[in-house]
Amino acid sequence: MTVEGRAKKAVNDNPVVKGLLHPGQTYLSVTEKITEVVLTRDTPLAWMIGFAVVGMFFMIFLLAVTYLFYQGVGIWGIMVPVAWGFAITNFVWWIGIGHAGTLISAILLLFRQEWRTSINRFAEAMTIFAVAAAGMFPILHLGRPWFAFFIMPYPNTMGLWPQWRSPLVWDLFAISTYGTVSIVFWFIGLLPDLATMRDRAKPKILKTIYGMLAMGWRGSARHWERYKVAYFLLAALATPLVVSVHSIVGLDFAYALVPGWHSTITPPFFVAGAIYSGFAMVFTLAIPLRKVFHLEGLITMKHMDYMAKVMLATGLIVAYGYAMELFMGWYSGSTFESYLIQNRAFGPYALWYWLLILINVVIVQALWFPQVRKNLVVLFILSIIINIGMWLERFIIIVVSLSRDFLPSAWGFFTPTIWDWAILFGSMGFFFTMMFLFVRSMPSISIFEVRELVHKTHQAEAEA
């Protein structure tokens, strides 16, 4: 075997860096490749078209919110007993999508999974924008949104304090902490890359902007030491945080007595579903990103394979959750619990329920096959289907449970109006608009961590 052949084999056999980078990468080549996405002057046509489309949906969102504030929540299909409708469905769904970003950036960092490196940055950005999209809904769904601040503890002339025993108050703290920690984690990760942007940008205005954001970062060895400690601690703090956030969202439901909500499985079930749908969204974003900006050398098929496996594993946990719901409906011996199951499967929303089962229990099994995990078109379509499935799950938990609870005389039926749909698709418009702007203004792959990976690859070569 030649020397070169041996080196290549060593890299391929190395468990740490195996297949994560295409061969022949240097510090400069990865730096150029990633900064080019932002600094190039000719914006890809695909970006322009995509931005026009998502921007239009963002405008629909602004229109829908304006009309909502003018007219009130009566424009939606909600009524008593289904008072939560689409708004809270969207809230739970968006929060869940954010969770994969934190899982990739924090939990995989703690487990030293090198494959997170190429995907953590835009997954973190995804988290921030998803949490921002989610955070709007609890305020939008209030009848009097201008009183939203009443939930915050502050000394007021009424002498009132929030009810600390309410999960809705916990939610305020969980979501705002999650949003804040996600933003600082993202910014800290971005800091050395902002310095790279400052040093590579040609126009003076860009140099100044990136220079101010980089805060004078100069890559000092002493700075790196403190940086690494702070970054790891943030990851260690974000890990239990992400589990707590969706657990608390789950407790919003588990605390209430409504059949279908009042269950101890809700918090872990919500967390698994969150990671599952979040990974689907990472696919939805990563596949076009690597195609349009030619990042195949950095986001490799190995990444796709690993992410697909995580998605499959969490999908199976979700499927287990459905099975447990069915089992508990029977095993509890409660009239209302068993009626809930009957109502889900054969009631007025049965079609939605079976669609959910089809997607999250049946279709997701396709990921067992390596051929599927290697086919980007199939993965992309699958990721969109899975996100629809997870949205349906939130919808079924909220709307189907509320519409028929205890007394048949108090039952109701929720039909979404055009404004319900406008605000759902509009919120996607907001999210994707932000992602489009992010990709063209900040390095969407962590440059310094990819350089570390290049260094490790070189070391593996040298050992051969």
Partner: protein, 180 residues
């Protein structure tokens, strides 16, 4: 010292490979220099030790931040629910501490995380709008693909000619003077 000639911040050596920089830093440290630093485009294992970095204060600060967060949260809930606005809600005890745990947890994380960020910036003396190392034109590659070592003129052992000769002996690509 530097006062004799033209004002000088220090001497900077440029390396192509991270391992050469670590080896050079160890030699500089062993030669008795204290006021020097290495600059790299990514964190390098063992380099902190090579430039004489001691254990960081950050973990202790973060722990204290978390503790303050926990006390703030629990104190806020206890004082409002038990002292300032006691309400009998469904016969539950006023100090129903298990229900106070989620917010206590969240604020512990929030305070600890913000402490980690603020102390990292504070101890690194960032933001720093001006620093002499940026006067070396090649230094813009310190954030891309080159590895630098700068011995500062403040160091008592610093002597322009001798230190330059010493740095040249470490096998760098180039040695440049850094304007203050």
């Amino acid at each position: 010292m530097a006062q004799d000639g033209p004002q000088l911040y220090g001497l900077m050596a440029e390396f192509e490979e991270p391992d050469d920089l670590v080896a050079a830093s160890e030699k500089v440290r062993d030669a008795g220099f204290h006021a020097f630093d290495a600059y790299t485009p990514f964190p390098i294992e063992g380099l902190g030790e090579a430039v004489g970095h001691k254990r960081s204060l950050i973990p202790i600060l973060v722990f204290s931040g978390g503790l303050i967060g926990a006390l703030t949260a629990f104190g806020m809930m206890y004082s409002s629910a038990v002292i300032f606005y006691p309400i009998n809600s469904g016969g539950r005890p006023l100090n129903s501490w298990p229900a106070f745990i989620p917010i206590t947890f969240e604020l512990t994380i929030l305070f600890a995380a913000l402490t980690a960020v603020v102390s990292m910036f504070f101890l690194n003396k960032l933001p720093m709008p001006y620093h002499p190392v940026f006067n070396v034109p090649e230094f813009q590659r310190a954030s891309q693909d080159r590895f630098f070592l700068c011995i500062e003129a403040d160091d008592p052992k610093f002597d322009l000619d001798k230190t330059r000769a010493f740095l040249e002996g470490l096998g760098p690509e180039k040695v440049s003077e850094v304007a203050p």
